[in-house]
């Protein structure tokens, strides 16, 4: 009797345990419950999701994270707002030059202007990872849309953006890990290091491969890439080819400048309008914008940073369409002196604000020293304020037509064929006439020299993320060929080591990836 019951009880218990425990062990297979966090199988179900992935690839150039403002950051080594691609790009292209200097004592930020950064600099590290993360986002979308005819456009555009980021990697670091859509993600594998030549070749091959697949210039939706963007990156790649690989490619540069010139772009008559809250209307000149929006694209980096950081002192914030300045960036006297008249009455590009400021800088950290720049504003061309006084509506003109004309002229002067000196002069005077509002600023063929072009690029393109590249091409960023205040951490300016033409691979990636090594000695 007892045995029977024991047996019965035992077997029941066993059955119960088996079912119950088995079920409970299966509980361990969890999937996210949050509607906003989903696995790939669940989320990638159609057109909408793929377009959102594409939107991330574009937004990767400006926003730091996934929730307002820069929350759930993409990069964790630096604060979300600081990690904005555009903010970092601006800091790296402008702070090491005479165009900008910052009053903030944030970590090792001042090393960018002092030109004494090292491989542990957190801003350099963030720039490097931001570029590589952008490449990874693009690789993922390229992988997901491979051989899917309905998403071919997205596939091509992701390749375009990837080439753009690889060009930034080439331009700033001259090397880097090389990964494509065929490499695994989510494991600790070690990508091979690409040389400058390999990066150059990859960008060139890719852009030539997708050039014909992209929409015609100005034919895509606003904010998205088209053929002109590919041509622009190719033109810049060729213009700087000697710096990157040692081989001159001025003729190829002219070829691609010509393609853009014949695509129908024109100079916007009012220079200042290119940098206002309604500059999305300037598609006649702006070839590729990075889009900002006061309500829908909020970040503490991007345009929020560029505009707020440059407002302060006696400059009323309201005139810039914002609620207050952050008193960081202003310029050095070396840049101011590029203009003979800083009032803006002669050359309208002199958007300089000097009231209450000293021209020279005795103390980097005193914002009142150094003239302010008031180029970008969150005010429309009709004088209305942007939609939000913290976050501007103003888009960033990453590439614009005026730059194409300058590149054309420079390539011609450097001996490229396919263009002519007379056309170059004509283009330069187009720019001067727009700047002056008349022909008073026009130059003669004798005045059209490479040095003139370098200065003219400063006057035309200042604070638009070109200056570092330009100075390197002319051999003037490092060394003592050209000194400006606080270059080399000296008030009068001092010579700097040649290695600062290239940013170091961050120590963190050298450490993480044994395939990488510094390509420049001294880092």
């Amino acid at each position: 009797m007892k045995n029977k019951y024991t047996y019965l009880k035992g077997s029941m218990l066993a059955a119960f345990m088996f079912l119950f425990l088995g079920g409970c062990v299966n509980d361990l297979n969890t999937v996210p419950l949050d509607e906003d966090i989903q696995t790939e199988e669940k989320v990638l179900t159609g057109e909408e999701a793929y377009k959102q992935l594409l939107a991330k690839c574009y937004a990767g150039f400006i926003i730091g994270g996934q929730t307002a403002v820069d929350g759930e950051p993409d990069i964790s080594s630096i604060n979300g707002g600081f990690s904005s691609y555009l903010r970092l790009l601006w800091n790296h292209q402008e702070l090491p030059t005479e165009e900008a200097i910052c009053a903030w004592n944030d970590g090792n930020l001042r090393d960018l202007h002092d030109m004494d950064w090292n491989s542990s600099n957190e801003f350099v590290t963030a720039m490097y990872y931001r570029i590589n993360l952008e490449i990874t986002y693009c690789n993922n979308l390229i992988r997901l849309t491979k051989d899917q005819a309905e998403y071919e456009d997205y596939n091509i555009e992701a390749r375009m953006l990837r080439a753009l980021s690889y060009w930034h990697l080439l331009d700033m670091f001259r090397t880097g890990p090389f990964v494509t859509e065929d490499d695994p993600i989510g494991t600790f594998f070690f990508p091979e290091q690409a040389t400058a030549q390999q990066l150059f070749d990859f960008i060139e091959t890719e852009l030539k491969a997708i050039e014909e697949l992209l929409p015609a210039p100005m034919a895509n939706e606003y904010g998205r890439t088209d053929q002109a963007v590919a041509w622009m990156v190719l033109a810049k790649l060729y213009l700087n080819a000697k710096v990157y690989t040692g081989a001159e490619k001025y003729t190829e540069c002219i070829t691609y400048c010509n393609k853009i010139i014949s695509a129908g772009y024109s100079l916007e008559p009012n220079y200042a309008y290119l940098f206002l809250a309604d500059n999305h209307l300037r598609t006649n000149e702006i070839i590729f914008p990075i889009c900002a929006d006061g309500e829908s694209t909020q970040t503490w980096g991007g345009m929020t940073f560029i505009i707020h950081s440059s407002v302060g002192g006696a400059m009323p914030a309201s005139e810039s369409g914002i609620d207050g300045g952050w008193e960081g960036n202003r310029t050095t006297s070396a840049f101011v002196d590029k203009f003979s008249d800083i009032s803006g009455n002669t050359d309208h590009r002199a958007l300089i604000f000097s009231t209450g400021q000293t021209k020279e800088i005795a103390d980097i950290f005193t914002f009142k020293q150094g003239y302010m720049i008031r180029k970008f504003r969150n005010i429309t061309s009709t004088g209305a304020a942007g939609s939000n006084t913290s976050h501007p509506d103003t888009d960033f003109p990453l590439f614009r037509y005026a730059d194409v004309l300058l590149m054309y002229a420079e390539a011609v002067l450097c001996g490229g064929t396919g263009g002519s000196a007379s056309t170059a002069l004509e283009y330069m005077n187009d720019l001067r006439e727009r700047a002056y509002g008349n022909t008073n600023g026009n130059i003669t063929s004798g005045q059209l020299t490479l040095d003139f072009i370098l200065d003219e690029r400063a006057r035309e393109l200042f604070w638009e993320c070109h200056r570092r590249t330009d100075l390197i091409r002319f051999g003037k960023l490092t060394g003592n060929a050209y000194l400006w205040p606080w270059k080399g951490a000296q008030a009068a300016g001092a010579s700097t080591d040649e290695r600062f033409n290239v940013f170091p691979i961050p120590a963190s990636d050298i450490n993480a990836n044994p395939n990488l090594q510094q390509i420049v000695s001294g880092y």
């Binding site: 019951y5 019965l8 062990v25 509980d27 361990l28 969890t30 999937v31 419950l33 949050d34 906003d36 989903q38 696995t39 790939e40 959102q52 939107a55 991330k56 937004a59 996934q66 307002a68 993409d74 990069i75 964790s76 080594s77 600081f82 944030d106 970590g107 590589n132 993360l133 490449i135 990874t136 993922n140 890990p177 990964v179 695994p184 993600i185 494991t187 600790f188 070690f190 990508p191 606003y222 889009c291 006061g294 309500e295 829908s296 694209t297 002192g313 009323p316 914030a317 609620d323 207050g324 300045g325 952050w326 950290f365 939000n388 006084t389 913290s390 120590a507 990636d509 993480a512 990836n513």
Partner: protein, 986 residues
């Protein structure tokens, strides 16, 4: 059907067993008293050995039992030595029990069971209610502050109910959690914080706690497997006893809290003089910004706080159902204006037995309601920085739009200066940050002793821990800082946390007298589910939605575990445990972890050559080894899973004239696995002079492997730049000493002293997947006051975690720091990053706790305190003191008077000048009480006065040397609290 039949059968079986033993009985009665005081002892357990026949003494210490002649009868009572006696001819047997100072027979809870203190093989420290720190406030952790060697408790600050960081033996992780596992009445609870409540432990009323048991070494903790790497703290609440008369306990306290000292900053006069003097030589300093008031901003934000605390408890037995019920009410103001906490707690424990004690039921319900108001702690730092020449309120109409509070305005257009320091009083008064939190912990435990096999026990436990938080943060729309776009003025949030537990275990206990052995085997299964749902909603002053988010996340733990206790001749003890844990936080290939432990103990004092020694009453050697795990990764519930996150409506991108949300692939490490800690422990417990002096000494070494570290990923291989992964090794080693002495033990006069000491050192031994001598470590320890992105500490190989990484300051002949001049440690002639050195770390090398309890007749006097040696603090408060800060962005900034000494012009934040030895001696608590005898024995009234945080002796120049993490930055000051209380038992 079958189940019902089974039940009937079992009951019948039970009845048969219990009716067998009624033969040749006598009625025996008597009283049980305390041998030293002569007072009657209620609740003493009296059993006839080898049977289930038994009773307990009533309130007057009397008992009656029917018992067979010649039987062996045993009298036992917690805290007293058990006495066994043969029943003779006499019908009366009076017994005087002797207090057991060592309490080796006392039962201590361990994971999934209990063990006699004398039989414990691991490092298990139990602190009972009698030994708790007296006269403490609302937070349970205060009860054992300084009581246990190697357990460090640091409150975050002096806010009511503020959180406390508990570290047992230094912590075994870097980026994963270092919090011990908290087990409340057998239920492991979730350590993650509850929204709207700063300290998870405050949901337990300290007055309801019977014991704290701290499991320190792996042989004791490994039964909790994957959550035990940082030790286990088990809290047992008070319960009623069978047959006990109704007892009431009423306790009321009134407290007054005051700030002990404030930071010395420049006063209005000094500040004005400084600004005017500097303006002569520095164009950036603008003296026209000065005002004419004289405001001490710290006085404006702090207050004298008062508090009340009322606890009512009742315990007894109704219709044979023992119960304890209690109610508690706490109302505690903070010393920072506008901070306040009100708490209501209720508890009910029922523990009836059925089927002739074969089925024991334990039902526990704990409920808690907290109403918090949090003050904006940013006001503390801003009170140091705000210009003292400005008034709190300014009648000028231009401040009307900011509610009349003085606000920095721009000279250019009179608009608000967005960069300027906020008015600290406005920060407090124009913001109401309130939360309501309710929490219920319910558990039901059934323990069945098999009728046909009484050695076998089955325990089933189910429990739910449920909390609900609702909070609102309402900011006055006039508050200056809300004038900016996209700044919230109304925020509401809620959170629902639900943890469920089910466990089942079988326990087989058998005496094997033929081989003088005792066997205790346990095997079980546990299932736990944790779910957190939360949402938040926020709008700005234009009613624009800033946030509307919902989160929902869960994880499961499934475990199988077992333990074998074997004791031979009561002298040689052996324990082995094993646990297999499955966690939903890992990929299914890495999901299961196995955590074994082994322990040996030798009760040397039971050996014949020592057994009769009066001098040496206890000597036990313990050896333990075990492996524990870690799955509280601080990295969400799905760190191994590739997921996509959709952005919110303010984080979109424009294509054409439409905005699209962003879909982001998140970074992940598919091969993430357990962090594993191996612990070796050796301990010696001793007792002299029948326990008048007792204690233990222990040494341990812990090695954590597969240490989780957030490391840079190889760029291009993941959707992030840094990722949590298993790469490092960390070692902890230490020595602990505990001493307890009953110096005087007379009827009217007792004096008890306690002392403990712990030395712990940790060292990172590996941090990256391969060796790189150039690797400086992981930067941690963000500092403020000098822009963003500045870190002062590193986790570096060969050094303790959180080591300060700084430049060595050079001083002039007078001992003053020379600004910007550091020791060129690399010798390359320039000061570069290579000149930074690994300096001290914030963890104390040695910590000590001491306590004294003194009773004379009806008076009692006690105090307890702590000593901490070698803990370093980075004084971030004075880092902001530099002349350069005086005028930035068109407003003035005040600074600590320290500036008069350092005279720093610019930020020197990486200088070791700011690093100070913050060793301290703190008297936490001193209390004096008097107990009134009101005629009856069963009625007692005790009145007491207590001072908390009595004094601190330290060389540290900041407010308080006790800083969790070692970076002193605007910490909510701990008040000195005066308390008057009355405790009434009847």
């Amino acid at each position: 059907m079958i189940l019902i039949n089974l039940k009937t059968l079992l009951m019948l079986l039970g009845l048969m067993v219990s009716t067998i033993s009624y033969a040749q009985e006598v009625s025996l009665s008597g009283s049980v008293t305390d041998s030293s005081t002569g007072e009657p002892l209620p609740g003493v357990t009296i059993v006839e050995k080898e049977t289930t026949n038994g009773t307990i003494t009533n309130f007057d210490g009397n008992y009656t039992i029917r018992i067979s002649k010649g039987a062996l009868i045993q009298f036992s009572y917690v805290g007293y030595r058990t006495i066994e006696q043969q029943v003779g001819e006499s019908a009366v047997l009076n017994i005087a029990l002797e207090e057991d100072l060592e309490q080796l027979d006392e039962v201590v809870v361990i994971g999934y069971g209990q063990v006699k203190k004398g039989d414990a093989t691991g490092s298990v420290i139990a602190i009972g209610a009698d030994d708790f720190n007296k006269g403490t406030t609302s937070s349970p952790q205060d009860l054992i502050l300084g009581k246990v060697a190697g357990v460090q408790i640091t409150t975050e600050g002096g806010a009511p109910g503020s959180s406390a960081t508990i570290r047992i033996r230094g912590g075994s992780s870097m980026s994963a959690s270092n919090d011990p596992l908290i087990v409340i009445d057998g239920m492991p609870v979730d350590n993650r914080s509850i929204s709207g409540m700063s300290n998870m432990l405050t949901s337990i009323n300290p007055a309801d706690i019977e014991t704290f048991t701290v499991l320190k070494d792996a042989s004791a903790t490994a039964i909790y497997g994957s959550r035990a790497s940082n030790g286990v703290i088990m809290i047992t609440t008070k319960k009623g006893k069978a047959g006990q008369d109704l007892k009431w306990n009423v306790d009321y306290q009134f407290t007054v809290g005051q700030i002990k000292k404030t930071i010395d900053v420049l006063n209005a006069e000094e500040f004005t003089a400084l600004v005017q003097e500097r303006a002569e030589t520095h164009s950036s300093v603008d003296p026209t910004l000065l005002g004419t008031s004289a405001t001490n901003w710290q006085d404006e934000i702090f207050q004298t706080s008062t508090g009340h605390d009322l606890n009512v408890g009742a315990s007894g037995s109704v219709k044979n159902i023992p119960f304890r019920a209690s109610f508690g009410y706490t109302d505690q103001e903070g010393i920072l204006k506008t901070s306040d906490m009100k708490r209501y707690t209720g508890m009910l424990n029922l523990n009836p037995s059925f089927l002739d004690d074969h089925l024991k039921v334990n039902l526990g319900l704990k409920g808690m309601l907290i109403d918090n108001r949090f003050a904006d702690k940013g006001a503390i730092g801003n009170a140091l920085r705000f210009d003292p020449t400005k008034p709190v309120m300014d009648p000028d109409s231009k401040y009307d739009k900011y509610g009349g509070y003085y606000t920095w305005l721009m000279k250019s257009d009179g608009s608000r200066n967005v960069n300027a320091t906020r008015n600290p009083v406005a920060q407090l008064e124009q913001r109401a940050d309130e939360s309501d939190v309710s929490r219920i912990i319910g558990d039901l435990q059934l323990n069945y002793k098999f009728h046909f096999l009484p050695e076998l026990n089955a325990t089933v436990k189910t429990g739910v821990d449920y909390s609900e938080s609702d909070g609102t943060i309402i900011t006055d729309p006039l508050a200056s800082w809300t004038q900016a776009a996209s700044v919230g003025i109304y925020r509401e949030y809620s959170q629902e946390k639900r943890n469920e537990l089910f466990d089942f275990y079988l326990n087989y206990q058998k005496d094997l007298p033929t081989i003088e052995s005792n066997l205790d085997v346990m095997a079980g299964y546990e299932w736990q589910h944790f779910r957190i749902k939360s949402d938040a909603f926020e709008v700005d002053k234009d009613d624009k939605e800033l946030e509307n988010s919902k989160d929902d996340t869960e994880n499961y733990l499934v475990s199988f575990f077992g333990r074998l206790n074997y004791s031979l001749m009561d002298k040689y003890l052996f324990t082995a445990t094993i646990r297999k844990d499955g966690s939903s936080r890992f990929h299914k290939d890495n999901r299961w972890g196995t955590f074994p432990s082994l322990a040996l103990a030798w009760r040397i004092s039971e050996e014949s050559f020592l057994k009769n020694s009066k001098a040496l009453s206890n000597l036990k050697l313990r050896l333990g080894y075990g492996i524990t795990g870690q799955q509280e990764l601080n990295s969400g519930d799905y760190p191994y899973l590739g997921t996509y996150r959709l952005s919110d409506n303010r984080t979109q991108y424009q294509f054409g004239d439409k905005f699209y949300p962003l879909l982001r692939p998140n970074g992940y490490d598919a091969s993430l696995e357990w962090e594993e800690t191996t612990t070796y422990n050796i301990g010696l417990d001793f007792g002299f002079l029948e326990g008048r002096l007792s204690g233990s000494i222990e040494a341990y070494k812990r090695k954590t492997e597969n240490l989780l570290n957030t490391v840079p990923v190889p760029a291009g291989t993941n959707f992030t730049d840094r990722l949590l992964t298993n790469v490092g090794d960390l070692e902890n080693e230490g020595v602990e000493l505990t001493l307890d002495a009953m110096v005087i033990n007379k009827k009217d006069f007792t004096w008890q002293l306690g002392y403990n000491l712990a030395w712990n050192q940790n060292k990172v031994t590996k941090l990256t997947s391969y060796d790189d001598p150039a690797y400086k470590g992981v930067e941690v320890g963000g500092i403020s006051g000098v822009g963003v992105g500045n870190y002062i500490q590193v986790h570096a190989i060969g050094h303790p975690i959180y080591t300060f990484y700084v430049y060595e300051q050079v001083y002039d002949l007078e001992g003053k720091p020379i600004e910007g001049v550091y020791v060129d440690r690399s010798g390359d002639g320039a000061i570069t990053l290579d000149d930074k050195y690994y300096s001290k770390d914030p963890a104390a090398d040695v910590t000590m706790g001491f306590s004294s309890n003194f009773t004379y007749k009806n008076f009692d006097l006690g105090f307890n305190g702590r000593i901490s040696l070698g803990n370093y603090v980075y004084n971030n408060v004075i880092v902001g003191a530099r002349y350069q800060e005086l005028t930035v962005n068109q407003y003035l900034t005040n600074m600590p008077s320290e500036i008069k000494y350092s005279k720093f012009e610019t930020a020197q934040q990486y200088s070791d000048y700011f690093l100070e030895d913050a060793s301290f001696l703190r008297l936490d608590n001193a209390t004096l009480g008097y107990t009134f005898n009101i005629g009856k024995d069963w009625m007692k009234l005790r009145c007491y006065a207590t001072v908390q945080n009595v004094f601190v002796v330290t060389d540290y120049k900041g407010l308080d040397p006790e800083i969790q993490g070692g970076i002193d930055n605007d910490v909510y000051p701990r008040p000195r609290t005066f308390m008057l209380g009355v405790n009434f038992n009847f």
